[in-house]
């Protein structure tokens, strides 16, 4: 058992080191000529606190004020008085009161207008945190300045991740942002960004106390990159062992013919510019082609060899079998023997798009047990409006 623990500890440390090396600010200066122009802005504590809080508001165009504490004790009418909803009294018998709240009709007479209700609510926000306007302004000014420098539109990310899972909140249905409020909305809506925040707290802070990379907002020049030409490359012990098409939910019929060309371009790019220049021996990096002749490889990002990185068309077991513990794997999966470049080969067997699951409540996505599903089901069945 002890040796097992030791293994786990050294594995944890390895993972932490890998993550640390893939932070944007750690590699950008070395590779800046190979990647999108970017601006790094330190995240003020007040913004970190806001992202970590449960409060979410878009009430001003600049930045929301928010509060840290729960509301529940502040709201007099939020007591357990479960009556039938007045507005839909006819159907009220169909609600299961055990599961659903009703609004409290004692407090508001029917002729009360919206404003009154709102005023009550506003008065209850006693614990509201007002953001120092100066502090906020200096942050949004930096963002505005950066956006201007980047040509008016940018893609935001934190130390590791971009809020790719939250694009459904953006009117462009992409990461394309043109203002600080666009950026804050995406950051606040994203599980990936929360993952970064949590990872920062858990892994990085205790790694090198003297040399902490702060939490940063990274703004990168926006480009309408053709996702068909994005690839993830896996480096193991300074060797390129695998390349995968990045968009795994689409078949592009021109790709098979270009595969060889793409592979040779990426291989020489990796050898010339990445391997032995990046500060680690095993990692992933993403590239894309912006030019139509597929001449120039553009670096997009680095990612650690880690469970939270998507291995796309490969199984982690194929790439790094020695890092996997005994687990349930499909019997057909074997470790790779040679370099491999995988693309989606036909329209058959296309898998559904993953972005679909990030735009649903996590209750639905993480249903782990029967009891939860059944609970959900019974609650749903009670819902017959």
């Amino acid at each position: 058992m002890e040796s097992n623990n030791n293994n786990n500890n050294s594995r944890d440390i390895l993972f932490k080191e890998r993550k640390d090396k893939c932070q944007f600010a750690r590699w950008y200066s070395t590779f800046r000529r190979l990647t999108f122009e970017s601006v790094i802005i330190e995240l003020p504590k007040i913004v970190v606190d806001y992202l970590n809080s449960d409060h979410f508001s878009t009430e001003t165009t600049s930045f929301p004020k928010y509060k840290l504490d729960d509301y529940e004790d502040d709201i007099g009418d939020d007591d357990e008085q479960w009556s039938t909803p007045v507005g839909k009294s006819k159907e009220s018998s169909m609600f299961n009161k055990k599961y659903y709240q009703s609004y409290d009709s004692d407090d508001d007479t029917d002729d009360s207008d919206d404003d009154k209700v709102e005023d009550n609510n506003n008065n209850n926000r006693t614990n509201e945190v007002k953001i120092d306007p100066q502090q906020l302004k200096s942050f949004t000014d930096k963002i505005d300045e950066a956006i201007k420098k980047l040509g008016g539109e940018c893609v935001p990310k934190l130390n590791w991740s971009s809020p790719k899972d939250a694009t459904f909140m953006n009117i462009h249905a992409s990461l394309r942002c043109s203002s600080s409020s666009d950026i804050l909305l995406l950051l606040k809506s994203s599980d990936f960004i929360n993952h970064d925040l949590a990872q920062f707290d858990n892994d990085i802070k205790d790694l090198q106390p003297d040399d902490i990379t702060p939490l940063t907002l990274v703004l990168r020049r926006w480009a309408n990159v053709n996702i068909a030409l994005e690839f993830r490359c896996f480096i193991k012990d300074n060797q390129l062992i695998a390349i995968s098409q990045r968009d795994t939910s689409a078949f592009f019929d021109f790709l098979p013919a270009k595969k060889e060309l793409i592979q040779s371009k990426i291989k020489s790019f990796a050898e010339q510019h990445i391997i032995n220049k990046f500060n680690d021996v095993s990692y992933c990096f993403d590239v894309c082609f912006l030019d139509t002749n597929l001449n120039t490889v553009t670096l997009m990002d680095f990612n650690p060899i880690h469970p939270s990185t998507d291995s796309l068309l490969f199984d982690w077991y194929e790439l790094f079998p020695e890092e996997l513990e005994h687990q349930e794997i499909d019997e057909s999966v074997k470790p790779l023997e040679h370099f491999e470049f995988r693309i989606v080969e036909s329209n058959e067997g296309i898998r559904p798009n993953l972005s679909m699951s990030s735009r649903l409540p996590s209750d639905l996505v993480n249903m782990q047990s029967t009891s939860e599903i059944n609970e959900m089901l019974s609650k749903f069945k009670d819902h017959k409006i």
Partner: protein
Amino acid sequence: MDEPVPPAVANNMAAVAASAAKPKAQLEIQDLKTLDVTTLTPTSKNVISRQATINIGTIGHVAHGKSTVVKAISDVLTVRWSTEFKRNITIKLGYANAKIYKCENPECHRPGCYKSYRSSTDDSPLCERPGCGGRMKLLRHVSFVDCPGHDVLMATMLNGAAVMDAAMLLIAGNESCPQPQTAEHIAAIEIMNLRNIIILQNKIDLVKEAAAKEQYGQILKFIQGTVAEGAPIIPISAQMKYNIDVICEYIVKKIPIPVRDFTSEPRLIVIRSFDVNKPGAKVDELKGGVAGGSIIKGVLRVGDEIEVRPGVITKDLDGRMRCSPLFSRIISLYAEENDLQYAVPGGLIGVGTKIDPSLCRADRLVGQVLGSVGKLPEIFISLEVNFFLLRRLLGVKSESGEKQSKVRKLLKDDTLMVNIGSTSTGCRVTAVKHDLAKLALLSPVCTQEGEKIALSRRVDKNWRLIGWGTIQKGTILSTSD
């Protein structure tokens, strides 16, 4: 097939079947001139020659050989998705279509006379039974969808209607039943409102007959009183291709032909969109954007004038939103590798359009609605909803305890996620009165009054379901053409 075949032989057979299907198969001609949608059914020859019309959800643990089973039936190895080293191995299999046949030679007996091939196979291939010489007749064309897909769950919850027509539940024959996930899978089938279920007892080649029989008994006992009670249980070995013919027979005999609406105005929900052009394509060879999705009702035809709503959304300098629906024409239709002249509900349909391909890149149209020009619902920018909130979050497993799990009331300026049909967007609460709320949408949505919605809030850094609602009224966003 009566006895297990050694794997090497089975693999060879698969390879032969695969290579045989390579040259362009003889499929039925779809002629738009003679098309009469009122006579179409989900088993019309002209339709099932080229596209699937029955959706079957495959439910089971990956380690139980889910992808192998789908491969054994459809001959398609679905693309897998995995993110985690261990635990939470979230593998999402792809869509795979298969044609199901029966040999017309009366000398061929059941179940061996049933056979499945991939979607692009001829409609009347030769029977493989040595000495038969008969032709196989195409009976069904089915689409396997990995379940429970969360989008499928959500759609079912909001609309109540089943999105899948049947479920195929996979149980490993070399493990005792029930496994913890089996109960979960049955619950999922229940949520998805599925009545037609086939249970597969896989990996039967790995156990002795007595053990298989014992497990059969365990399964029977386990499904008693559940939605799966009475479902057929078929012992199979996907690896050895054993009893795949029995599955085919059951699909034909036990899964009723779904009732479909072919005559309404067509509507497709976009679940993928992309730009398929090769880099540097010249203007005259440039292909328009492609939208993929499932047809909810009606028939789409090549040449149809179509509209995609809400289309391109922009915000002007003072924050006012505008949208321009996309107007275009259908240039091509396809289902997997088969070209179509017309497409009906069932499976995943690709629609080639003349829309600017860069607008379709990277799933930018996901959640939008495609249909005939002028026949789609309105585009709303704000909603008035009748809502009700859960008292507590589901699960109630929050470490912070009770207080955390309590759902607090809606307040003005709350920013929420709202699921409307197959669309998700953000919204800001602008007013609350009793059980009515006004929601300003962060992106306009094509929907209609009476539609159900789900509301979620960021709690503990996750979107958590807090309530449901019904659209009472919406503010229409005027479009700029």
